[in-house]
């Protein structure tokens, strides 16, 4: 049996924000993300989840460690255009109020994703043509592949229908949509690019409880249906539990526990995870995260459990 190749592999990543003193936001994180899986990254506010998401997309430079996307090192975004090899990683952000450009019709914003997918498809065909002359074995997954599946939406209107909105909404501006609808549109925009990886950085945190689970569910179903790996970041375990195959529990810049969702859920090993679970009220999405239990809070290096 061959080991499946991770789409993203993160090795001992550290991130410091400059300052006096510098903030050690991420302190040695390692994990793999495989094709088509849904992984939940949970942890309290300020533990470094967004920083991790931004490192994976290159929006924030890492201080140490390695992030590889299909074997390609992910470098921080400079002033220039993002390398097309890395556009297979897309992201949906937290704030529905600023995740879309207020001055552009939503249809044209979804078009950005479709255009990128088309561009990557052309690149892949060109790569394949080159490979015909190459005596070496062609790789199964190429980085620029957009893996265009037959039943994928081809227009912004189709994408809007796919995320539960109206085809006619393409001509409307973001301000006329609710927060939940905007996050659906942002999801459509990112997934239209046919990425291998979608990162959702607390995409449901700003939504009201009744829409949270629905948007989370939509994101994961759509990602899974097109084979996109989803890294779903949240501080709310009760919703993440519903969609994630695997959980990563982050605390104070480190991953303190990881494993299949049910295992972590029914048999938490780390004290932080235990208090996280204990604090979950009814699964209405309104769950608040607990602080670290007193006895553990002073530990500089938290115990790590795998």
């Amino acid at each position: 049996m061959t080991e499946p190749m991770p789409v993203i592999s993160v090795r001992d990543v550290h991130v410091d924000y400059p300052g006096h003193p510098p903030v050690h936001a991420v302190r040695g994180v390692s994990f793999d993300l495989f094709e088509g899986e849904v992984v939940g990254l949970v942890g309290e506010s300020g533990c470094g989840k967004s920083t991790m998401a931004r490192v994976l997309t290159g929006l924030v430079p890492r201080t140490e460690g390695e992030v590889e996307f299909l074997g390609e090192s992910v470098e921080a975004l400079g002033i220039g255009r993002r390398p097309v090899e890395l556009t297979g990683i897309q992201m949906v952000f937290q704030d529905p109020g600023s995740s879309l450009n207020p001055r552009r019709r939503v249809g044209s914003q979804i078009m950005d994703g479709l255009k990128l997918a088309a561009y990557r498809e052309r690149r892949r065909l060109a790569e394949l043509e080159d490979l015909l002359d190459d005596p070496d074995l062609p790789p199964l997954l190429t980085r620029t592949a957009s893996r265009s599946l037959p039943d994928q939406p081809k227009t912004p209107a189709e994408w809007l229908e796919r995320v539960g909105l109206d085809a006619a909404d393409a001509n409307r501006y973001p301000r006329s949509f609710s927060g939940g609808q905007r996050q659906r549109i942002a999801t459509a925009r990112a997934l239209a690019a046919q990425p291998q990886v979608l990162i959702g950085d607390e995409p449901i945190s700003a939504l009201d409880a009744s829409t949270q689970a629905r948007v989370a569910y939509l994101m994961s179903t759509l990602a899974v249906s097109q084979g996109t790996a989803l890294l779903f970041i949240s501080h709310d375990l009760s919703v993440v539990r519903l969609i994630a195959d695997r959980l990563l529990v982050m605390w104070s810049g480190r991953i303190v526990e990881s494993g299949p969702t049910e295992e972590v859920w029914s048999n938490p090993g780390h004290p932080y995870t235990k208090s996280l679970l204990a604090a979950i009220p009814a699964p209405d999405g309104a769950g608040r995260l607990p602080a670290m239990p007193e006895s553990q809070a002073d530990f500089d290096a938290p115990p790590v459990i795998h």
Binding site: R82, I89, D95, A190
Partner: protein
């Protein structure tokens, strides 16, 4: 049977006028704002057709000298060379307002471009541009404009250049701060993730969100620009005789204190332009500010 036709006709007309009325910013729908709008529009019309509607040739010196208003057919009187003041004010609108508009456009272009580049690229680019901006802003506006105009030599074009030197930095500063705020927006980041180049990002995500506030600022600046240019001409650093420029007309008035009309009427012209354009700028700003909309 004419009645149904009437009722079918009237609502259409009403909704059209109402739609136009609705498009006018709220601040200009109040009586005072409407007056300001009318005055500004009237001045723009005068800019276009001023010399044509003037009762006399603004340069002809064939009326009695220093005639008070109403005498010899000169509604606003004549100057010391026997030129009709009213005609000169009408012809001067084109010079003063036209150049003010030119100045505002140039400052907006130069200032916003620098502010945009500084705000978007940050780091040393930002550092360099903003240091330069602060340097210019450190000088008193009028004095720096005067010195520059004097160094360039007195001419209307040089007066515009000199005024440009002092008026672009405010655009740079404001646009930079807007761009800095925008750059932190998630849609800008997601555009970059979707492969936008810096140029695309600026064109698609930044510029459309900057133009509104910048145009408002420009409209607020038209009055100030007219005042600055008139001021330079007043000091003899702008328009040269016999060009009918309001600022230089006021400065002639100062030397004839007994003939009050020489200074008062061109002064009033400047005043109405400054006030009416400021009013429009204010109304536009309020219309664009979502907080003010609710109040």
């Amino acid at each position: 049977m004419t009645r149904p036709q009437l009722t079918a006709d009237v609502p259409v007309r009403r909704s059209l006028t109402r739609r136009i009325w609705r498009a006018v910013p709220k601040g200009l729908r109040q009586p005072l704002g409407a007056v300001a709008l009318l005055i500004a529009l009237a001045w723009l019309v005068v800019c276009a057709v001023g010399p044509q509607i003037a009762p006399f040739d603004p340069l002809a010196q064939d009326l009695p000298r220093l005639a008070p208003p109403g005498e010899a057919g000169a509604v606003l009187g004549t100057d010391e060379l026997g030129r009709d003041l009213f005609s000169r004010i009408l012809a001067g609108a084109r010079v003063t307002i036209g150049l003010a508009l030119l100045l505002v456009c140039l400052s907006m272009l130069v200032g916003s471009t620098l502010g945009l580049v500084a705000g978007f690229f940050g780091r040393w680019v930002d550092e360099a541009i903003m240091r330069f901006t602060d340097l210019v802003l450190a000088f008193p506006t009028v004095i720096l404009a005067m010195v520059t105009a004097a160094a360039l030599g007195a001419s209307l074009f040089n007066a515009v250049l000199a005024a440009l030197v002092v008026s672009w930095p405010q655009y740079a500063r404001v646009v930079r701060s807007i761009v800095l705020g925008l750059r932190g927006n998630e849609f800008v980041a997601s555009g970059r993730l979707l492969g936008f180049s810096a140029g695309q990002s600026i064109r698609v995500d930044i510029l459309p969100n900057v133009t509104g506030p910048t145009l408002v600022m420009a409209s607020l600046d038209i009055g100030t620009a007219a005042l600055l240019l008139s001021g330079l001409s007043f000091l003899g650093l702008g328009a040269k005789p016999p060009t009918p420029e309001w600022g230089s007309m006021v400065s002639q008035g100062v030397t004839h204190l007994n003939q009050w009309w020489l200074g008062v009427f061109p002064g009033l012209a400047i005043l109405t332009v400054v006030i009416s354009f400021n009013f429009i700028g204010d109304a536009l700003r309020d219309a664009l500010d979502p907080g003010a909309e609710k109040a």
